[in-house]
């Protein structure tokens, strides 16, 4: 047997099945919403045949970019989470736990404060990206020399995340008026995503996903402890930094488009590992596809659900997708952990 991946057929089936599911979700996104459209109208709007201009705007300018951003960000978050879990040698690692998502939110809030003070207004997506990268870097630096000990990075990451959250809250105290516009970064939302958001995201997908998948060999190696990695010919610390930096960049890119969506980066790799095992060559592609499906499905639920929130005057539609992933993801993860061996 010349291939190293155990049960390669299963990986192919899962990836192809996942891509098919993603395509189905994409279609559903175009049709479902406050104004449901029959497939004929969706098709007409897409192909540009003479149709109502309103349908065209609805499908092509509102629903399509939102659906694409959801799929792309889900894949990036899951890929990042899968890489992080392997490299930190901690199955509970995820973009949020190394500070990236909260850092992104802080970046946006800080940029608003800067904008108010100076009149400069950096784009929120750029601020989110910078905030996420900065928080990831801070986690790496503070973790210091013992960063490869399992748990160390995640522990420091949790502290950095808490600090980011505290700073965000402080900044928001003085700017209650902007709370509404900031909320989408805090909770994670795909509402009102446009082609601009997709334009900022697709280069990351194009570059990040192949690089992420190609790094599977290194990711496998980094699951071992540092002396072993070194004795197998790789400088452990530098290699860990390289691959971790990749994971942070992927997560920061995703979060800059969606805000701090919870659980996708944790849950998708977990499920993928149960399906195909710990070998990164199988795990990474399956996790990425699962992440895309997960976030997209959650968003479908989010914007087609109407809920009565306690204290709200009217019913709320268009929930932020982060609320759905948190509400659903928490219990699912608990169930998975209870069923796991350890």
């Amino acid at each position: 047997m010349v291939t190293g991946v155990a049960r390669p057929g299963r990986v192919v089936v899962l990836v192809v099945g996942g891509v098919a599911a993603a395509a189905a979700l994409l279609t559903a996104h175009l049709a479902v919403g406050r104004l449901p459209l029959p497939p004929d109208d969706v098709w007409a709007a897409l192909t540009g045949s003479p149709t109502s201009a309103f349908h065209r705007v609805l499908v092509v300018d509102l629903r399509l970019p939102r659906a694409l951003v959801g799929l792309g960000a889900g894949a990036l978050l899951a890929l990042s989470g899968a890489v992080l879990q392997a490299v930190t040698r901690n199955p509970l690692a995820e973009p949020g736990l190394v500070g990236v998502t909260t850092g992104a939110a802080l970046g946006v809030v800080a940029s608003l404060a800067v904008a108010a003070g100076t009149g400069l207004s950096p784009a929120p997506t750029v601020a989110a990206l910078l905030g996420g990268l900065a928080a990831g870097a801070a986690t790496w630096l503070v973790a210091g020399r013992h960063r490869s000990a399992p748990g160390r990075l995640v522990l420091v990451g949790a502290l950095v995340a808490a600090l980011c959250t505290a700073l965000t809250s402080l900044l928001l105290l003085g700017r209650r008026d902007s709370l509404g516009s900031v909320l989408r970064w805090l909770v994670g939302s795909l509402n009102a995503r446009t082609w601009d958001d997709w334009a900022a995201l697709w280069p990351w997908l194009l570059a990040g996903v192949p690089v992420g998948l190609l790094s599977a060999g290194l990711v496998n190696l980094l699951q071992l402890d540092d002396p072993l990695v070194t004795s197998l010919g790789r400088p452990a610390d530098r290699t860990r930094l390289l691959v971790l930096g990749l994971a942070v960049a992927l997560a920061a890119a995703a979060v800059s488009a969606t805000g701090a969506v919870a659980f996708v980066g944790l849950l998708a790799p977990h499920v993928a590992r149960r399906l195909v095992g710990a070998d990164a060559r199988a795990l990474l592609p399956v996790a990425a596809v699962l992440g895309a499906v997960l976030l997209s499905a959650a968003d479908l639920v989010a914007y087609s659900t109407t809920v009565s929130l306690p204290g709200a005057a009217s019913q709320v539609t268009g929930l932020p997708v982060g609320a759905v992933t948190a509400v659903v993801g928490g219990p699912v993860l608990l169930a998975l952990l209870r069923r796991s061996r350890r």
């Binding site: 047997m1 010349v2 291939t3 190293g4 155990a6 392997a86 040698r89 399992p150 190609l214 790094s215 060999g217 290194l218 496998n220 190696l221 699951q223 071992l224 402890d225 002396p227 072993l228 070194t230 004795s231 197998l232 010919g233 790789r234 400088p235 590992r273 095992g277 710990a278 070998d279 061996r341 350890r342």
Partner: protein
């Protein structure tokens, strides 16, 4: 299968090596030139510097003074993968994810040959299969690490080191988690690697009688320095046991091999 052993390849050698962690100096000017194709055993009390010496030979711990030389060059000047193709090091209590399968673990041993982005070729598969058979884990190839017993897991790690297919093998207390039958099996396997393939082996062992039985040469370390170096008969003497290990013992010939065997004294129990 009577192919002659390949010519002895370059072996990492230590010359006046000083090494340590933080402020602690663990090795204080150690020389060690393992003989190619022979089995050298490092013995010494806990904290005497055995593991550190092994790790400087494997380029995992950098030297602070002196040199480790591989094939005429300072080992620090070699590219990492080139060292890893020549020297395999199995550390004490290695850590890997429980969800990894034995085959996937052993495959990491091919990393120095395959690289980060390469694909396994037939030759790599053969090296892996060979390593798993030699370590006695071929029937466990598709099992997860966390499903294995301590002994099986240790043999999986040995298979990882063997899969590197290096002329030099450095093993740090490889028998620690094994029962006595598996200890002997593993040491016999290591002995065979020496005799049949001409592999140079440096192994840290705590069991002095096993060291005496399997080693061509025994090197005793004490407080970061070599205090005795020679054949088992030359090194494992009552005087050394007293000075280095603080154990009073008599040394008698092993009734099976004739090698020295030490028996501690002072614990005689009165017959009931």
């Amino acid at each position: 299968m009577t192919a002659p052993p390949p010519p002895p390849a370059a072996v990492p050698t230590a010359h006046g090596v000083v090494a340590g962690y933080g402020r602690r100096r663990v090795l204080d000017g150690v020389d060690l030139v393992p003989e190619p194709g022979r089995l050298t055993c490092l013995v010494g009390p806990n904290g005497s510097g055995k593991s550190t010496l092994l790790q400087t030979l494997g380029r995992v711990v950098p030297t602070r003074g002196g040199r480790v030389v591989l094939d005429g060059r300072d080992i620090a000047d070699w590219p990492g993968p080139q060292v890893a193709r020549r020297v395999a090091l199995l550390t004490q209590d290695p850590q890997g994810p429980g969800g990894l399968r034995v085959r996937e673990l052993v495959e990491q041993g091919r990393h120095p040959w395959v690289g980060a982005f390469g694909a396994l070729r037939r030759h790599d598969d053969e090296a892996m299969a060979d390593a798993m058979t030699a370590a006695g884990v071929d029937h466990l190839a598709d099992r997860r690490l966390d499903e294995l017993s301590g002994g099986e897991r240790q043999r999986a790690w040995i298979a990882l080191a063997l899969a590197q297919d290096t002329p030099t093998l450095l093993l740090d207390e490889p028998t620690t988690f094994l029962d006595v039958a598996h200890q002997l099996e593993l040491l016999r396997l290591v002995r065979r690697r020496c005799d049949e393939r001409g592999t140079t082996v440096v192994v840290v062992l705590h069991d002095l009688n096993q060291a005496a039985r399997f080693a061509d040469r025994v090197v005793a370390l004490h407080r970061g320095a070599v205090v005795a170096d020679g054949t088992p008969e030359q090194v494992l003497t009552p005087g050394l046991l007293r000075e280095v290990f603080h154990v009073e013992a008599v040394v008698v010939p092993d009734p099976v091999t004739g090698r020295p065997m030490f028996v501690p004294t002072g614990d005689r129990r009165d017959d009931a």
